[in-house]
């Protein structure tokens, strides 16, 4: 019998959750109903005014920020609020910044995550729907160069790739610009120039009944930028993206941070905070009480354990364990909750999930059908100690 069968796991290999590996894991958000409601409310409001959500979430490592991003994306895809009247175009990006990374690098990462194929599909679909593509693009994009670059995505030969490279912020040679009938490289007149590209693509998405929303993780990477000019360029890019008038490109950013002091500096600047709005700065804290921890574990077990199989096993083997806490016996379950709640800063989903999984591996090692206090004492002290 393998690990999965031993603990009656419901079509999964372990007790861990990782939506980056298994997309279905995005549906889970255990033990935090109130926080989830707050997040969903802000998302809903964002689609009304300014038209797209602009939200910044922060918390300690292991607090579940990545899971929050994926869960909100899952919510928009599977149970969209009424205020979202278009289909969400959800783009996940994990930021990667270094000391001299600038707005060009950020823009490139967003564009690569968005993908040439998606934008090409949007332009092809628009072409099939409107009498004049030129007129449609002019009303959507306003900027001569952006219109020409987007139009060239439908060109022949290497023109689409050249056009895409321009949109993504790569520098093109004068000859290449001439072939595309462009007057300059994108970004030549600052970060705002590139945000115009992104916002224009957001409008193009809307014309195809889609709403463009970036889910950006690891935004603490901004703190890697040490070059002052680069920092200001990135700050300017963020400021323009956060403007009220941008109603076509939404974002939900997540960053490590417990206080203003350890968050990326640009996120706590007044101009950014004012544009995004203080109410849209949402902390993902550790689980606040032992009751929250109990709920978290119970909800996890409820979803991950095949209850029918577990019930049969409990009956057949006469196990002294409740179906609600299986595979933990009652004392072990309470002990784990105690350990997890001793230090509030360590009452993190990552630690709790790790301890559940490690307890299970330990029980499996010695062929114990249930996890008892002895195992919890051994494992939880390692994880939470």
């Amino acid at each position: 019998m393998d690990f999965k069968e031993w603990f009656c796991l419901n079509e999964r290999d372990s007790f861990t959750i990782d939506p980056q590996i298994n997309s279905e894991d995005a549906q889970f958000y255990f033990g935090r109903a109130t926080k989830l409601k707050e997040l969903q409310t802000q998302l809903r409001k964002g689609f009304i005014d300014p038209g797209v959500p602009k939200i910044f979430i922060y918390g300690s490592f292991g607090s579940g920020k990545t899971q929050t991003l994926y869960n909100l994306a899952y919510y928009l895809q599977h149970d969209p609020p009424k205020s979202l009247q278009l289909k969400p175009a959800i783009i996940h990006v994990v930021l990667d910044m270094q000391s001299k990374s600038s707005h060009l690098d950020w823009h490139l990462q967003l564009m690569e995550a968005l993908g040439k194929e998606r934008v090409s599909r949007w332009i092809d679909d628009l072409f099939s729907k409107v009498p004049s593509l030129d007129e449609a693009l002019t009303s959507l994009l306003s900027d001569y160069n952006i219109i020409n670059a987007v139009k060239n995505l439908r060109g022949g030969g290497d023109m689409p790739m050249l056009a895409w490279r321009w949109l993504a912020g790569h520098r093109l040679s004068p000859a290449e610009l001439q072939r595309l009938q462009l007057t300059r490289n994108s970004g030549d007149i600052g970060a705002g120039d590139m945000v115009k590209v992104l916002v224009g693509l957001g409008h193009l998405a809307e014309k195809n009944d889609e709403k463009l929303i970036f889910f950006m993780d690891e935004v603490e990477q901004f703190t890697n930028i040490t070059n002052a000019d680069c920092f200001e360029a990135v700050h300017n890019y963020l400021r323009q993206l956060s403007e009220q008038k941008n109603s076509s490109v939404g974002f939900i950013m997540s960053s490590y941070g417990l206080t203003d002091d350890d968050m990326p500096r640009m996120m706590v600047r007044g101009d950014i905070r004012n544009r995004i709005g203080a109410i849209n700065y949402i902390e993902i804290p550790p689980l606040p009480s032992v009751e929250d921890i109990r709920t978290f574990i119970c909800e996890l077990l409820l979803n991950f354990i095949d209850r029918k199989a577990a019930e049969e096993k409990i009956q057949q083997q006469g196990l002294a364990v409740s179906l609600d806490t299986y595979p933990f016996d009652a004392d072990a379950f309470e002990k784990l909750c105690d350990y997890a709640s001793q230090d509030p800063t360590k009452a993190l989903p990552r630690n709790i999930i790790k301890s559940i999984n490690e307890c299970a591996i330990s029980a499996w090692d010695v062929e114990k059908a249930v996890i008892d206090v002895e195992i919890v004492n051994e494992i939880a002290s390692l994880v939470f100690g």
């Binding site: 393998d2 690990f3 290999d13 372990s14 861990t16 990782d18 980056q20 590996i21 490592f61 994990v94 930021l95 990667d96 910044m97 270094q98 990374s101 060009l104 690098d105 490139l108 990462q109 690569e112 790569h170 993780d217 690891e218 603490e220 990477q221 490590y256 999984n357 299970a360 591996i361 330990s362 499996w364 090692d365 051994e378 002290s381 390692l382 100690g385």
Partner: protein
């Protein structure tokens, strides 16, 4: 060799002594290491010209209380360096050891609080592999697009491989961090 040009790289192919490179990165890392995973069919003491000895690795594990997971083949009594290495690793309270006779994979993972790196390659953790064999490896940095790859490799090493039949627990970790 870097895979990307302007975007920071999250993958790196290491054609020269990849295992030694990983060990050097582990020893020299200024960040607090949370977990170390060593998956190698054979493990040696890393003497004789290898720049990072097994003793140095164990010293850092003990000094910083790094949770370390080792999965290897059961050492043959004829392979004295493997026997010695396992004896040395068993002395540490922060190391879990498992034997799996079917193991052929070589994976090394170093996880820090906000990052880390992993090596996936052909090289065993032995002097012979580092000094004499032609090996190749790929380092995956836990940043940007490397994060899902790193996570999947970690999940495989820390969960699946430890909980498959045949991965027999030899020694648990015994002390609190």
């Amino acid at each position: 060799m870097n895979i990307e040009t302007r975007s920071p790289s999250y993958l790196e192919i290491v054609p020269d002594k990849p295992v030694e490179r990983f060990l050097r990165m582990f020893i020299l890392s200024s960040k607090a290491v949370e977990e170390l995973v060593i998956i190698s069919p054979i493990i040696g003491m890393l003497r004789g010209g290898v720049s990072v000895s097994m003793n140095r690795v164990i010293e850092r594990i003990n000094r910083e209380h790094i949770k370390t997971y080792v999965i290897t083949n059961e050492p043959s009594p004829y392979h004295s360096s493997h026997v010695q290495a396992m004896t040395a690793l068993r002395q540490s309270n922060f190391i879990e050891i498992r034997y799996n006779e079917s193991l052929h994979a070589k994976v090394y993972i170093c996880r820090t609080r906000d990052g880390g790196f992993a090596l996936l390659g052909s090289g065993n953790l032995t002097e012979t592999s580092i000094q004499r064999r032609i090996e190749i490896g790929m380092i995956i940095f836990r940043r940007g697009n490397g994060i899902p790859l790193f996570q999947e490799l970690s999940k495989w090493g820390l969960e699946r491989l430890r909980s498959v039949r045949g991965s027999i627990l030899i020694k648990r970790m015994t002390l609190r961090r």
